[in-house]
Symmetry: D2
Subunit: 482 residues, 4 copies
């Protein structure tokens, strides 16, 4: 059982998976705090359900204040202080961010969403913002104390998330030193952020994705009034640590990032950050579900011994730990590649395309694995698994959100297919894997992919799922063999 | 898309799967009512969450009354009137019961739990009860109007569900014309039933499962007082249509069914009824999740056409419909075999052992399929899939309960293995399948099973899952080929 | 105790208070249904809390559907069928309406709000609507079956309810055959009504109340789209049987009632209907709270006898029954006067001004009495009184809404003062009471009022409360002596 | 308006009412913390509703753990540290306790209940416990850090609270060095306390109140197991800061306090502490409701000016502030008298009987005033007053609990009557008041009381309420004139 012990601590798991861990002391402090205090707070927030939205104060002034359990701020601010955002900006590396996210999301997967969208606001601002914009807003997002501003990334509208070109109906109109945006965002994570990046179409711009632009929208107008309204908070099945709302923009002041006709690139770059985060959080969640199952199985007895000692269950634990390791290897590969390419601008390098393929494989497979593991962990708990009183059922709810956010499996598969077709990204992948994979297996996999890509389009798409799954597993296992 | 249309109606699906459907008009009326009225009621009950338990009336009298939405009774009583219980007793066939359950659970999977446990009370009473007991209680369970009594089957205690021999600590003491039972039941479905069958150990009986007996316990004592107390209702993630409680027996009056040293057989026979019900409900739930996904995918557009017309999603629908058909074939096989053997008493026939194997395969595989389908249907809904406001997330919650109730996968696999080892039930299975399966495949499957059974015990158990899954799929597909 | 028995039935109380009761059989049927079925439904609706608002259907279409417990419709439609609205229109009398309301609100005070606002929509339409408007909309509001339309009366905005002249910021713009209204209504009772009367200011109209007009606003536009949006439902402490929402009008189609510069009269006439309803419901609620307290006090024993037989409590019951009778006499006087004057148009008769004074006295005093009685009934229940599990606490929540809706005490007092100052309505009141009141007492009361009216304005207002309370009590007791 | 400003701060109000305030710095720190942090936490706890009770841990062990919002402990422990209990024990004065309670309950009335029952456990232990018991338990209750134990006072059973002689059915049986208690407590405040004082009847003791004894019952048995079970938590309308449960004693270990036949005196002495606390909290709550109303009325405008500047409302504020002062004077008199007599043992002095009369007058009148003020404050808020979103409605819910706990008005009136009849306590009262009251008024009041006491018993009780109310008001006003 000594092997299984690694499940109990995210930091121990990181240590056993990575050769060298920067920020070791910070992570250790983080894990200690969560064990002692954070876990109980996180449970209480989950039990409390969707928070209230106070739209008006007692004097009839629209305020759109979110009434969280008071201690929510304790959880939230801690991660910012530890550097989940400022380190990326200051140290020019995403490694600290994703290490922190792994450690934190083992304890609360939801809270990594605010961190991710804050990063997804800070990065395009730093990269594409004018000197004036950067001077005006970047310091607030980089603060190391509790006055830090939060960001948010609002793209999706009621008509859907994947087909942004058709679904975004928010319009922007140039108005002197700023733009005025009007439209409704339907899934607005971190709905009360001080600053958001928002996809909108400038009046007169081309239809489709090519006509989209990305704007920076502060919570307050220059005159101090609310710059956007929160119509309501979504009643989600999980991630209670992040308020997701419907946001109404009504002539809201916004500031253009980059050029007005290249917004789609900026949007996809933001998505890169969050898809990789999603993969990291998925693996951490799977580890957590396994850790809870382990502590249960050690103590629950049936037929004269702990259920952990029954061969079938014990075998499942060991098997699943192996899969956890390979899922992590895949997710971490996407982190490292992103860390190489996140400062690129179009036209992108080959390495960027390789990143994209790996990111799709990782988002797809880690989320599948998280859902399957959460389901299995509930079953290990038997009847207790379906009771609200115990934590087991929470991880499945959380995992389902990870499987859907940032693009469902369908989207990952189809976009992964596209980057192979158009950019031949699988070529780069197989080069990368050649070092660690048995030649025969590699060749077999490669030829299967090539054959698939030669299918007629309709069939190529229809049959893509089993191929993509096989490729994800192959890649994950190969990488974990390093 | 003509094929997919069958997903919209449980009766149409039954029609397309079975050659001949008794009770056609009753089922049609049932489906019509649910479409028009029942669905909205079921949704409201699910939204309302766990009902309240009123322990005391205003005058301080303990009443243990469950405060349901008033209309819950409308749903519940309807199924009893339609014959989900009385037909089994009167027509000596379980076919009508399980046809009704399929139709009803497409609309509300939870309400089939009260029906199943009522059946699980009536059947052992009819089969093993003394003439006096039958005369006293059977008519109430067989009523065709709203005064019908409900039953309940209470076995599980806090120490666990599978290892009844060790976990049941409820004691019974003979007391003249009845027994007095004392103990706590931890998962007591249908907690306010008028009559329950309860596992208990007579004072002085052998330890382990051999010392268990089965008792009939009415809600009220002969003197009119409450005969058992409901400590609380469980806050489950789903099946809100059935109140599951913790029940306290304190010198509760009970009546022995069968002999005091053969209770375990009666208990397992009750379990047969509910495992088969679980399989039927699982398939119906999968159909429902697919039906909802279908109506969504038809109307949601992306990239210029309904998402249903995108090749990947369309292919998944067709593929999954095939799996639905084979899952139903497997579940229905368990129904038919049970209908052959449900009146047997120990020692049982070979057919009974074949039934047991099929029932384990069906419980295992249909629940796996239901969970996977519910997850997939949520993903089809994209972001809406995780919002409480929409129905998609409900089916996964419901499905998880089906995967855990009546024994998790682990239990089905291990018990299935046992009936193959001890009773050679796989021999009978392969004989049964020979008619429909290609000889080569059949032989390959058979030899794989035989080899597995020759493994050393520890390994045999550790590696059982992939074999059992393969056998379940093979059996399901073969049966659907009929 | 024979006297106290009258508390148990609203119809018996009406019988003991009024000489002649039209509609006797209808009321009897109503009371029977509520006792047998309605009460349990009403309790369930109260327990269920604020209903959900489904803003979008699964296909992204804004629908603003309110997700009530299914059986809510059972309660709601029943009163319409019995004639709470159509009888007023058909029989040209409000007596049936308010008799029905008394009977119904004994069992569920909230549901009388939809009835009142439906009446408050139908009456101005019938009285002031053009022939075309009446032909188009009146039949739907008068239907005797479940397809009946509901009305709603939306005046209040975020800035407040009493000072309509300053608070109404909704603007209307003439647009051919209709007007287009834009603005937000903050307390919109019956938020999903098919038809509402809405206060708005035509563009360019005078400021203050003189510039207000009243419009008819249907739920759907002529093209079938939603004509108004429900921003959210209010989470109120009671009256869960009526959905109160925040409504957004955005170029909503409306139809002018009466002339554009006389809207304030129409608004006040609508308010007459609801203030009188509020008085009737308040008395019925007080009776209900007493009936519950009675049934509790009969069964609860302390110090060797039922607490009802303890002299202090018994005396309180008898005393309070007397006050209930006088409160009813006052409320019923407002019904009868309204029934005389409801078809008047400005300039109004003296009788109309007498009605106004009586209506203010009744609204004020009956609500005070309802709150005080509900509080006392909780105390009779002892500790059970503060438990959510028991009904006692509900009546105080409901009563507090009655004390605030349609103008708090402050408003009633100040408006009552005004109608005495400006219209000398107290003169008419004392004439009316002369028949029943001892001359000396009447003269003393009259002189006290006259002296008060001669105080300097600031002092007159500051000290108005005790005078108004005394006048209300005096009037109520005098009328009950008839 | 300068006068009204005193409403905003409990400490300022204390300063303006008392000549000399010990503990000034502690109170100032307390008030500061609550303003900055505590208020938001208290609001969140109220919104969160009744906490969950986790009966079993994941391993099936009964734990009866109450799942509070994590930050609840922050609020709770703070008051203990500041000395709400330890100061009484150490400084031999109740003044610091009740000053702290006034300051704290202005911000959260509920949390003073745990403090009161902890005091009500510590005091009888200190006064009546054996040296061994005191050595064993008193240090834990007196700790000045967060490891302090909490106490609880459990008397009431399902049959009622006032008639303890008939209602207490809990039995105690001597068992060597302890007693074993068996019975159910129906309103068990602070249900998870480490130590409770519990009323029970020793086997064979006399019936009625004379046979009751008081026991100390720890949460854990000597062997570490739970010593009592929590059957469930009550779903109360307010005081969410205290978990009130139903407690089951099943052979629970208890330790006798005082002698077995004098328990009723100990019970009533405990009640003295809580009735005085109830009075103090009631006045603080009334001040809070007024403070909230004030801040609303300053900012809300109607008819061209803040509603606070309208003469009627302004007059009500001033009037009510006067009543607040006199209510406080009455409550504080009960504090001071209790502080004189709390160490007395039977037979008691005259001063003790005077205290009892004052305590009944104060409990009665301050709770009435709190309810009336909370209702009025809701009305000042207009429509916002009935919305869950705003705080106004909370104070009425809290006040209703104060009006019912520790004996409703009926109980205070009847017990107050008794102490006048039997102990002539009114004589002492009038002596006490003679100094401050105009002689004529005093004589009139005195003679009214004397006449009332000469009424025949039935009538004396039936008509007691108006007399008692008049006496309470007279006493309060006289004392405030000092």
């Amino acid at each position: 059982m000594s092997d299984l012990n690694v499940l109990r601590s995210p930091l121990n798991f990181l240590r056993s998976s990575l050769q060298d861990i920067p920020l070791h002391d910070v992570l250790e402090a983080e894990e200690g705090w969560w064990k002692n205090e954070g876990v109980a707070i996180s449970d209480a927030i989950d039990r409390a359900g969707t928070p209230w939205l106070r739209m008006f104060d007692r004097h009839g002034k629209r305020v759109d204040e979110i009434l969280y359990p008071h201690e929510y701020q304790t959880i939230l601010r801690r991660g910012y202080r530890s550097g989940v955002v400022w380190r990326a900006l200051e140290e020019k590396s995403l490694i600290p961010t994703y290490l922190l996210m792994y450690t934190i999301s083992f304890h609360d997967p939801g809270v990594c969403c605010p961190y991710t969208v804050s990063l997804g606001t800070a990065v395009p601002l730093a990269k594409y913002g004018s000197a004036e914009l950067r001077a005006r807003f970047l310091p607030q997002l980089s603060r190391k104390d509790d006055s830090v501003w939060q960001g948010a990334t609002w793209m999706t509208e009621i008509k859907g998330g994947s087909d942004l070109g058709a679904a975004v109906e928010t319009i922007s109109r140039s108005a002197g030193d700023c733009w005025l945006l009007t439209g409704d965002k339907y899934f607005a994570s971190n709905a009360n952020a001080e600053l958001a990046v928002v996809a909108a179409r400038p009046e007169g711009a081309a239809p489709g994705v090519r006509g989209l632009a990305l704007f920076l929208v502060p919570r307050h107008r220059k005159n101090g009034e609310l710059n956007y309204l929160i119509r309501r908070l979504k009643d989600k099945i999980a991630t209670r640590s992040v308020p997701t709302g419907e946001v109404e923009l009504k002539g809201s002041e916004g500031y253009l990032l980059g050029s007005a006709d290249a917004g789609i690139y900026l949007i996809l770059e933001v998505l890169n950050l969050s898809r990789v985060a999603n993969s990291i959080v998925s693996v951490a969640l799977a580890q957590r579900a396994m850790a809870d199952a382990l502590s249960y199985a050690e103590h629950r007895a049936a037929f004269g011994k702990p259920i952990l000692d029954h061969p079938l269950l014990h075998h499942q634990f060991e098997n699943r730990l192996n899969t956890l390791r390979s899922a992590f290897a895949l997710a971490w590969e996407s982190v490292q590649l992103l860390n190489d390419v996140w400062m690129e601008r179009p036209p992108y390098s080959d390495r960027y395309h390789l990143f994209r393929l790996i990111a799709h494989l990782a988002k797809y497979w880690t989320a599948e694995f998280a859902v399957d593991t959460a389901k299995w962990a509930m079953e290990v708990h038997g009847g207790l698994g379906v009771l609200a009183e115990y934590g087991a059922q929470r991880w499945l709810r959380e995992a389902m959100i990870l499987a859907i956010w940032e693009g469902t499996s369908h989207r990952q598969i189809l976009d992964g297919l596209e980057v192979m077709e158009r950019k031949r990204a699988h070529k780069l992948l197989f080069q990368r894997l050649a070092e660690f994979a048995p030649t025969k297996e590699l060749q077999a996999m490669e030829s299967e992919v090539e054959q698939h890509l030669m299918l007629p389009p309709e069939k190529r798409e229809a049959l893509a799922e089993p191929l993509f799954k096989k490729l994800a597993l192959f890649t994950a296992e190969t990488l974990s063999r390093r």
